[in-house]
Amino acid sequence: MNHLDPHDPIGERLAPHKGEIVPPEVEASAHAALASLRNRMDRRESRRRERPIMSTLKRGFGSKLAWAGSLAAATVVIILAFGLLPGGGGGTSAWAQAVEKLRNARSVTYSIIVSMEHLPEPMNKMPPMRMDYMWKEPGLLRMEAPGTWGVMDIVRRKGISVMDAQRTYIEMDLSEIPEEQFIQQTGGIEYMRRMPERAERELGEREFDGRRLLGFLCREQGMEYEVWIDPLTHDPVRVEMSIPQADMRATIVDFRFDVELDDAIFDMTPPADYKRMDLKLEQPAEKHLIGFFRFWTARSANETFPPGMDMGTIMTELRKIEMKDIEALDMQQQMDQMMPMQLSMQFVTTMTPDNDWYYRGEGLRLGTEEPICWWRPTGSEFYRVVFGNLEVLDYTPEALEQLKSIISEK
């Protein structure tokens, strides 16, 4: 008998009854599933214990990479499709309520607009890129942009990205990538739903499209984002994100909460006559940077390195280098070829000020003995210095200072 309310006939029929047992085969199946969860949790825990530095690094990548990647090229549509990223904090009741709204929403739709107008010519002539997102419980996400769309099941960590113009699709299995990296692939929604209780500071009121909004600033791993909230309803209305060192900007607008979204729009069946492509997801690393330098110098005039490593410069200069061999490839091959560039850009744009990244490749040619760039990996006491022959060496801070003084004397 249900002790909650012995006179409630409905509760009485639902409550656990004395002596009632779950069938043994159900128990067995449940315990097998729990054992799998235990394994995953234990592995995650031991990874965190053993590699706190790596974990921090990955979190850093998360925030910016997917986002930098979304601009890098249409080659990695998966990132363009799902990559974005806020994180953040707050202090007032308005902030707390906005955070609560995001956390408790049963469905949310919003749009991410990537602006190019601040970039150098001709990139600044490109129209803003708009991606529309639809999310609903328990974790279904759909992204739509001109010529492409994608669906992700965040709970099952599976997704599909479809490129209508090329009549191709990529099926994604994200179950094996680290949690922090996975979160970055969720179009910002998982970050927004996990925003912390406090923002870094308040930005006061500002008017957007005739509407006065209350702003909050958050920073995370070299990325800044401003969350603008309606002071009356406390709904988040606008999120402006930027990665200053990569010169990247995007805005999330048009939030709508708890709208009816048909399950059919989250169907992950690929269009019948589209061709499947394979995409191997990798963590951006030093090897990708070196691969990118090799790729670039093989195509640039006089084997020169790129004049800068920010996204605007690369996107602009990319038009000047020889790409005929790439253009002749089919889409799968193009994607394979361009992936190191994508990953190297991610590698660079996720550097934090602590990494002390410096690039000086402008005008230098492949094979030169001069250093091209350096950075200090997070947690390391040594700098990694890349030379013109693409060798990479460890330098102590003192040795690097000496190297810098030698360079400056020239």
Binding site: N2, H3, L4, H7, D8, P9, I10, G11, R13, L14, A15, P16, V22, P23, E25, V26, E27, S29, A30, H31, A33, L34, S36, L37, R38, R40, M41, D42, R44, E45, E100, R103, N104, R106, E137, P138, G139, I154, V155, R156, R157, E179, R194
Partner: protein, 179 residues
């Protein structure tokens, strides 16, 4: 020095049976249970960071389990309704009258759960946590991230609606049933 218990031992192990029991009592079918329970664990895994930071992690885990089971229940009820509408199957109640008390009780439970699946999610969640898992109100409030008064309101509303929809299951006079 003794080792600290792992996250799993601390967060999940003590409530394994409650998780299993809660999901089972909502779906009561092997296939549905497997689907709901797998789904629940996937959600627990996906929200581990949030669970670890939560003031009552176990209440949140139970909420996730109940939610996953509730989703499966809703799908199943919708599917059966469609099948009936499509004329693929006749209503079980129409074609197969209960053979004995056990079957009758199971059907009544099914009827109640079908009605629960029609409730708004927050009401259904609170109701199921209270009646399926017998959670105390403060725990439900923590799991739902709202105040205890809100939980009580959700449950009261849920019971009123269920009382109206399922009046035929209640032998008490109408006024008492809708208190």
């Amino acid at each position: 020095m003794s080792e600290q218990p792992s996250h799993y031992e601390r967060l999940v192990a003590p409530i394994e049976q409650r998780m299993i029991g809660a999901v089972w009592r909502i779906v009561r079918e092997r296939d549905d249970f497997d689907e709901a329970f797998q789904d629940a664990l996937a959600r627990v895994w996906a929200r581990l960071d949030q669970i670890e930071r939560h003031p009552n992690p176990q209440a949140l885990i139970l909420r996730i389990c109940i939610n996953a089971a509730y989703d499966v229940l809703r799908r199943r009820v919708r599917q059966r309704r469609r099948e009936v509408l499509d004329g693929m199957h006749e209503s079980i109640a129409d074609s197969h009258p209960p053979a004995d008390d056990v079957l009758a009780a199971a059907e009544q439970r099914g009827e109640i759960m079908a009605a629960v699946s029609r409730l708004p999610r927050n009401q259904a969640e609170a109701f199921l946590m209270r009646f399926i898992d017998e959670m105390p109100y403060p725990e439900i409030a923590q799991a739902l991230g709202c105040g205890e008064p809100t939980v009580r309101t959700h449950i009261l509303r849920a019971r009123r609606r269920l009382g109206q929809w399922l009046a035929h299951l209640d032998p008490r006079p109408p006024r008492e049933a809708c208190k």
